[in-house]
Symmetry: C2
Subunit: 255 residues, 2 copies
């Protein structure tokens, strides 16, 4: 008779069982979401977290393992575990899968075209989970690749951001910023993109798009619609990119 089997009132009724390390994972995410640890900073050591949460170091390790696999945390042997950031060279264009056909790394320049506040269009509001009529910031920009001596436009990006989160985002602010846009969002607006979903399709370049990308109207372009999420699966950016794929391609790995 190993178990006494008393069906006493369970303290956790419906959601039932969840492994300890998953609970620790949730606590870590809560700390990240609450800003207890900032992007680029170290979090406490595994031993310290284990003591704080009252579990063994191995359990904390498993929680961190998962977050590291999702690129939310980054382990560095001998140094500690860090909050992922879009600041570092290696992860600068973490979400950009565009590659030059010739090989090598992208090396793109930016050109800001527009930045304005507006009422979120219906579709944008729906995808960003905004109330109808809520404010949004729209940004339009070009990415250009050096081709010999000339600069050739390759990507035309249109972004929509929740106005409430991005108070004070202006063209001047964007213009002055050196570095990846997502880094600006982290540093100035405490918005940290941790994952994204993309929908790709082939479309024909329209008049104004064609002009900006310096292609003939009707040229096939790769349309990349991206919805980016922060902690808690909250959508915080809608981006529609048009990629001119004559000398570049979108790279993906499947397994």
């Amino acid at each position: 008779m190993p178990s006494v089997a008393v069906p006493a009132a369970a303290p956790e009724p419906a959601p039932s069982f969840s492994p300890l390390y998953q609970q620790i994972r949730t606590l870590l995410l809560r700390g990240l979401q609450g800003g207890e640890w900032q992007p680029g900073q170290v979090i406490p050591s595994e031993t310290e977290l284990a003591a704080r949460f009252g579990v063994s170091q191995g359990t904390v390790r498993k929680a961190i393992d998962e977050l590291a696999a999702e690129n939310v945390l980054v382990r560095r042997q001998g140094k500690g575990t860090f909050v992922a950031t879009h600041a570092e060279q290696a992860t600068q264009y973490r979400f950009l899968r565009l590659m030059p056909d010739a090989g090598g790394t992208p090396a793109l320049q930016r050109r800001l075209l527009d930045c304005r506040r507006m009422r979120a269009p219906l579709e944008v509001a729906r995808l960003l989970a905004l109330k109808s009529g809520e404010a949004a910031v729209q940004v339009r920009r070009l990415l250009l690749a050096a081709e010999g001596a000339a600069l050739r436009p390759v990507v035309l990006d249109d972004l929509w951001l929740p106005g409430g989160l991005f108070k004070g985002l202006t063209a001047e602010r964007l213009q002055a910023w050196r570095g990846p846009m997502y880094r600006l969002f982290e540093a100035e607006f405490a918005v940290h993109m941790i994952r994204a979903e993309e929908k790709l399709r082939a479309v024909a370049a329209l008049g104004d798009e064609a002009a900006l990308l310096d292609v003939a109207p009707g040229t096939p372009l790769l349309s990349v619609e991206r919805l980016s999420y922060t902690y808690g699966d909250r959508p915080v950016e809608l981006r529609r990119g048009l990629y001119h794929t004559s000398a570049h391609h979108y790279r993906n790995e499947l397994s």
Copy 2:
């Protein structure tokens, strides 16, 4: 003087240190490559493998964890660990990222257009690491989606396979096969695709492609060039798909 610092001839000179669990991982991969365990079958239990390799169960577990993360193995609690296969419903179109805009699952029908043996074209030979002049099998087929009562072509696939591996692959064989093509490759030719790399771009439909996809010439199509690999990073399939993305899109997740 804790270390004696005798620069004796090291037993493992250059590649140096490799964790035990990585070595176990390699041994497991070797077993898979050698056909010791077939797709869909169970591999021995963690305890048994631990005994066989002379390590602890936890070390085997970590090796299996990695292979499971790469979709090479599949864990099933209470049942065992299985070799991944393209046979099961859930993983039937493991490498196909095409989704209907309306939502839901693809539900596509196939139509074989062509299957012939030929000398591998230069570019194909290069990508598949074939010797120049070596035989290749070329397959062309359509995928069609039900749209109301009608069937609309959505994908035009062109495949090239190494002739040496796919002896006896004929149009009749393909025609008669019910189920995913990758499952046929597993079952009849012992070729197991475990990962793939894709390059996407937008292109204009050419005359014959347009006709087959039932679109006007010049229509933008999503070109998906896929190189699939089996164990040991050996390329075994080159596939070029043209996706008509008016009612479907290519879905991707970033993190």
